[in-house]
């Protein structure tokens, strides 16, 4: 059974390095899907996102979602990284890297992980506006719930 790498990061992470680590010394992997979620500047109006998280549960919940993915698809490697704290536009927020023999499993697992992370991992985004006015909490989207529900059949 593959042991997933799950990590919360207080600062920027290097997605290319994580990808290289996952593939290092491996000759059995045929497909690697890496998803990176980034902080947008919302047409210049956003100065930063502040990611609040529930220490302890954030790690355990991501680990549980990763373990769930491993029961659904025969993955050969899995890395999930998630930032918390202040994140500037252009910086990466989340990385999901799923390795498998074939692309179908790798694509599906990466999408499943992102859908579940968004709706089950205890993180909350607050906007810091570029004009200095008080930003609000980002609202959860019904489309994210619908995306997560697809996997429950």
């Amino acid at each position: 059974m593959v042991a997933p790498t799950v990590r919360l990061c207080a600062g920027p992470f290097d997605a290319a390095r994580e990808e290289a680590l996952l593939l290092q010394g491996r000759t059995d992997i045929g497909a690697l899907v890496c998803f990176t979620g980034l902080c947008r500047d919302e047409a210049g109006t956003l100065a930063a996102l502040e990611l609040e998280h529930y220490p302890g549960m954030a790690e355990s919940e991501i680990a549980a979602i990763a373990a769930d993915a491993l029961t659904r698809w025969p993955l050969q490697g899995l890395t999930v990284l998630h930032r918390y704290g202040l994140i500037r536009p252009g910086e990466k927020i989340v990385l999901v890297a799923a390795a498998a023999r074939h692309r179908g499993e790798a694509f599906a697992a990466a999408e499943f992980l992102m859908d579940y992370l968004k709706t089950r991992a205890p993180f909350w985004k607050k906007e810091h506006r570029a004009d200095g006015r008080e930003g609000g909490w980002v609202e959860a989207k019904a489309s994210d719930d619908a995306a997560a529900e697809r996997w429950q059949e």
Partner: protein, 83 residues
């Protein structure tokens, strides 16, 4: 038991965490939300839209009807927006 609050719930209540001792009649997450809501204006505002508030018991997702009797830590927060 310890109650912990996150994001907008934390801001409205004005606390990150506190020790609470609900009476024996408060048996579920939904009943605890009702009991907390009566503690003051900030609590009432935090739980005004109770149907949207999520809870976790000892760091596992809970439901409104989840029993709280054995809980050491109960967290309340709005729907998650990570990823």
């Amino acid at each position: 038991m310890k109650a912990v609050y996150f994001a907008s719930v934390r801001e409205r209540i004005g606390l990150t965490e506190e020790e609470i001792s609900p009476p024996a009649g408060v048996a579920t997450v939904a009943e605890l939300i009702g009991w907390l809501s009566a503690r003051g204006e900030g609590y009432a505002a935090a739980f005004a839209n109770a149907a949207t508030i999520r809870a976790a018991i000892d760091r596992n997702h809970a439901r409104p009807d989840s029993p709280i009797r054995a809980a050491r830590e109960i967290a309340f927060f709005p729907p998650m927006t990570g990823g």
